[in-house]
Subunit: 238 residues, 2 copies
DNA sequence: GTATTATGATAGTATTACTATTATTATTGA
DNA sequence: TCAATAATAATAGTAATACTATCATAATAC
């Protein structure tokens, strides 16, 4: 009983610690949106609006109407909508990493750990985990539909130097290490992981919009199964 | 000797046939750019300019300056720059399919055929095959950097109905069939192929801009090797 | 209770993404 | 060969986008 309570405490501390840690590098914003009420309204409403309009048709003007604040106030938080998108994706990847860490903490077999982690990377987010002011279900949709745009720009090298993609790199690094923990000789852990992460998102997008490009079945989750098999076959020595 | 000449003739007929076949569905354009001098200048210069500026900063205005024709003339060929991008990617996938068909025609082992096809899907385009007025080396760069934007929009479903993505689907269907020719029991041929195609492009992009997300080595082509192994391991009936 | 900071209100600008109109060539076809 | 047709050029214009600037006001901190 005491052990259980202790475990629970460890959980909560980690959760609290990590939830507080979803503070992102200052290179992403002009003013930390997590530090004010307006900032939080910008984040939560931009998620809804980007999902509704798509990133191309989303503008700060429209967002300003939605939150009843002047456009110029939004510009005090983010240089432009592209950096806001990077902020959202960074938050997302940090949140995914937090969930990976949490879900793996009481597993002591490396293969099982990796398996659990792949689950989190490839499964869709179905319920809002009610992480403060961010709707994770909608954010997950945005990531599937829009996240590739965050790094497919001419500014990618400059932004990369500024640290804009650290959250994603951190997650990939962690998972690459988890692969190496299972098979220390495996040569391409980063390629494998990004193939899985981006591939799973891509397949989800295809199954909704371009079903001829995939083989998903409505009733069962073929995507998770496919990428789990992929990882297993690739890292099995021999 | 006669056999050789006959083979050559078959080659040329196929080449001519396919090269002529890189006429794309009329849903993509208002006026076929392949039918006029101006249309061809629009295509060839847009490839160069999109590569230079990136798709976001590319505009019909800037293109019109480059080709010394009014902006309104470009609008007579394409409704907007997004449909021009779809046109370019469609042309690209049709061209890739043409190369796949050609490279595989004199191989009679299904596994070797697939292997050769994966080569074409995953290798970068190094030399301009001088296909008329289109620079395939630069086009390949655009596809790697920008092609995901062609279908990651709110209009994807409408455009899909108009046939905008038929070239890509046709290629994927052909390769899925090639997988089934090797292993008729394999369940996810489309997923596997899109994972390979998009994955290879993604890894090339990462190796240039976000190297922490991949494991490529400058000296050798790890990307081709990685995805070949992936396909082989996935379809081998264990 | 003043200094600081955050937000609101308003205005303005260059560029983008188009549409429209008319003039001028080039091509076709009778 | 001349008229009709089609294609392009030249020019103008508009609403929206992507910002920047300024000043007033409200909230908070010391």
């Amino acid at each position: 009983m005491i052990v259980l309570l202790l475990l629970l405490k460890v959980y909560l501390v980690i959760m609290r610690d990590l939830s507080i840690k979803i503070k992102l590098t200052p290179g992403l914003y002009l003013k930390d949106p997590d530090s004010t009420e307006l900032g939080k309204r910008i984040i939560s409403n931009s998620i809804v609006l980007i999902n509704e309009l798509g990133f191309e048709k989303f503008t700060f003007k429209k967002l300003s109407k939605k939150i009843n604040s002047p456009e110029s106030s939004i510009y005090r938080y983010f240089e432009n909508k592209h950096l806001l998108l990077i902020y959202l994706t960074s938050w997302y990847w940090s949140w995914i990493e937090y969930r990976v860490v949490l879900s793996v903490i009481n597993i002591n077999n490396n293969l099982d750990k990796l398996d659990k982690a792949i689950d989190i990377l490839t499964m869709p987010v179905n319920e809002d985990k009610s992480f403060s002011y961010i709707n994770e279900v909608i954010l997950d949709k945005i990531i599937i539909a829009e996240s590739v745009k965050s790094f497919h720009t001419k500014e990618v090298d400059v932004e990369n130097k500024k640290g804009c993609f650290e959250s994603y790199k951190k997650l990939v690094t962690r998972l690459a290490q988890m692969i190496l923990d299972v098979n220390p000789d495996y040569k391409y852990p980063h390629m494998l992981i990004t193939t899985v992460i981006e591939g799973a998102h891509q397949q989800r997008y295809f199954s909704e919009h371009l079903p001829k490009l995939t083989d998903t079945i409505k009733t069962e989750d073929t995507i998770v199964a496919f990428y789990k098999e992929l990882v297993q076959k690739m890292i099995s020595s021999k």
